[in-house]
């Protein structure tokens, strides 16, 4: 069959699927979809020919049955089957680090210590390098897909510029025992420059040791950083844990330990003002579920599963259904900007930066790359800029974040950046390069 015919068939199927159910089946025959065994006229001819052979064979058999033969003939058996619409889920565990992530392995709870909001820091070799895995989210009810955003940074300049690469290993843990494992595709980045990559893997819904469906109950999603190579040495896997819950064999989502955090977006009333009468569109760094727990009615445009992944923006209409008020603005003077080598270039209370409490702005003058430090976890960024800014690379961390302005930023172009901290909201930093 020609590729054109195959595409035509796919297009016809897609059009059929787009029809309302009532229009799909004018004859009233109950069917999810017309049974289609063949795609082209050539295949149809073959099918007809096979059918004719069957009929001929059957007639011959009847004739022979009527006049009993001396021997029993071989009756031709022709079956036509439609292939299943879904294929079994696959998972890969081959490259997992055996001592920590293999099926049935025990992950000591000590591995989870010292973690903060899905991030971990590694002391390694000659320098201190981070491979931080942030923004975990269990997908919604549709699948056991788990995503994590990964970025590599460094608090020292030793490894800056080194490339890192690897895959994310994800394990579902009950207690301290791994019951399902999966490996994402690989990604790479540059230490200190914090490219973020969204990695995903799909966990099986059966216990990898026993094959039994996963029992209802509380589990942990453990994302393990790969054994990535950075500047000639290997970072050890990073472990972190997020609790999830399984109900009726389905991973129903994250029971977040993260605070139901700040949110911001276009049209969101300014901090401290009540969200009470209007609908607003949100490009949020929190999740739809989290917004909903705050007494807000959230209607998502797009995929709800995406809206419930932390770290993803989504489009939604949010209506306040209660007396919820926006997070109050706390004193933004706790934010400090430092350069990549740790030097403080501006701090609101040191006179190095301008702080306008009325406008909730913080003016900082960073170098090409800078690191923002706060006294509370940084949960998100938003950015707007005039001029020819190609967009900095932003990556949230637990209490600090790297901001890399790239190479094409025009000098003097003001960048207005909204940095969202836990407990703070809508703080804006105007960054002048």
């Amino acid at each position: 069959m020609s590729p054109e015919e195959m595409f035509r068939g796919l297009r016809d199927d897609a059009r059929w699927m787009d029809l309302p159910p009532s229009a799909r089946e004018p004859s009233g025959r109950k069917a999810d979809r017309p049974l289609r065994l063949v795609r082209s006229w050539r295949a149809a001819i073959v099918t007809i020919a096979v059918g004719a052979l069957i009929v001929a064979g059957s007639l011959a058999l009847i004739a022979r049955t009527t006049t009993p033969p001396a021997t029993t003939p071989n009756q031709p058996v022709v079956t036509a089957t439609q292939h299943p619409t879904t294929s079994p889920s696959t998972q890969g565990a081959a490259s997992l680090t055996p001592q920590t992530t293999g099926c049935g392995a025990t992950i000591p709870s000590a591995d989870f210590t010292g973690l903060d909001r899905g991030s971990a820091r590694l002391a390694n070799g000659t320098g201190e390098a981070d491979l931080r895995i942030a923004n975990y989210a269990a997908a919604g009810a549709r699948s056991t897909r788990v995503s994590a955003r990964v970025f590599g940074g460094s608090s020292t300049t030793t490894e800056r510029g080194a490339r890192w690469a690897g895959a994310l290993h994800i394990a579902l843990v009950r207690g301290t025992t791994v019951v399902a494992v999966a490996t994402s595709g690989s990604t790479s980045g540059t230490v200190g420059y914090d490219q973020t990559s969204l990695l995903s893997a799909t966990l099986a819904s059966r216990d990898c040791s026993t094959g039994a469906p996963l029992a209802d109950g509380a589990y942990s999603i453990v994302a393990l950083g790969p054994a990535v190579t950075v500047a000639g040495f290997v970072l050890h896997p990073v472990d972190t844990r997020r609790p999830v819950h399984i109900s009726d064999g389905v991973l129903v989502g994250e029971i977040s330990t993260a605070p139901t955090g700040p949110w911001h977006g276009t049209g969101v009333p300014t901090c401290g003002s009540p969200v009470n009468e209007s609908t607003v569109r949100v490009f949020a760094t929190t999740t739809a579920n989290q917004l909903a727990t705050e007494g807000l009615e959230v209607r998502v445009t797009g995929f709800e599963t995406h809206a419930n992944r932390q770290g993803r923006s989504f489009v939604a209409t949010v209506t306040n259904t209660g007396d919820r008020t926006a997070h109050p603005v706390e004193d933004p003077q706790s934010a400090t900007a430092v350069t990549s080598d740790g030097r403080i270039v501006s701090a609101p209370d040191s006179g190095g930066a301008e702080h306008d409490p009325d406008r909730s702005t913080l003016t900082i003058k960073p170098e090409k790359s800078t690191r923002l430090v706060a006294d509370a976890p940084i949960t998100g960024f938003d950015l707007s800029a005039d001029g020819t800014v190609s967009g900095p690379t932003l990556a949230p961390g637990p209490h600090f974040a790297y901001v890399d302005f790239g190479t094409t930023t025009s000098a003097g172009t003001p960048i207005v950046m909204t940095i969202t901290y836990t407990g703070h909201n809508d703080e804006r930093a105007i960054v002048n390069q």
Binding site: M1, P3, Q82, G185, S186, H306, T317
Partner: protein, 165 residues
Amino acid sequence: MAVAGRGGDVRFTELVERRRGALPRVALLITGSRAEAEDAVQDAVEAVARSWSRVSDQAGFAYLRTAVVRKSTDSRRSHELTGDVPDRPVEDLGFLRLEQDRRFVELVHELPVQQRAVIVLRYFNGLDDRTIAKVLTIRSSPVRSQAARAMAKLREANVEMETGR
């Protein structure tokens, strides 16, 4: 899912709702992964939402489709650059009902991403070469040559598959 809002928001939400089947399918044919396809659509929806006030009613779907195609090709390219070309069966969105469909789409995914995008837009979406060129920000003549090369490869691969070579 979706709804309410006012003015342009309603139009946008309605458009996304109406095309929520079609857009992921195009993305799936380009990316080969359901997850990536959904990510591409989601990213496109978000990006278009931000600029929706500047989009006319007539151009709405074309604008959104262009965004989805570009996100899908970008996503694929970045995976290919990092060597993460998945060795896995095509994850379905429910419309690859026959085994031969699935095998065919797997063949499509062996093509370079731009060739793939060209033939998906041309033969699955039925777009003319000029429109394809606009969507992919290339000139029309490469569209023709890419399509010809892609179809030749598919024919060859298809013959091999059918004859079991």
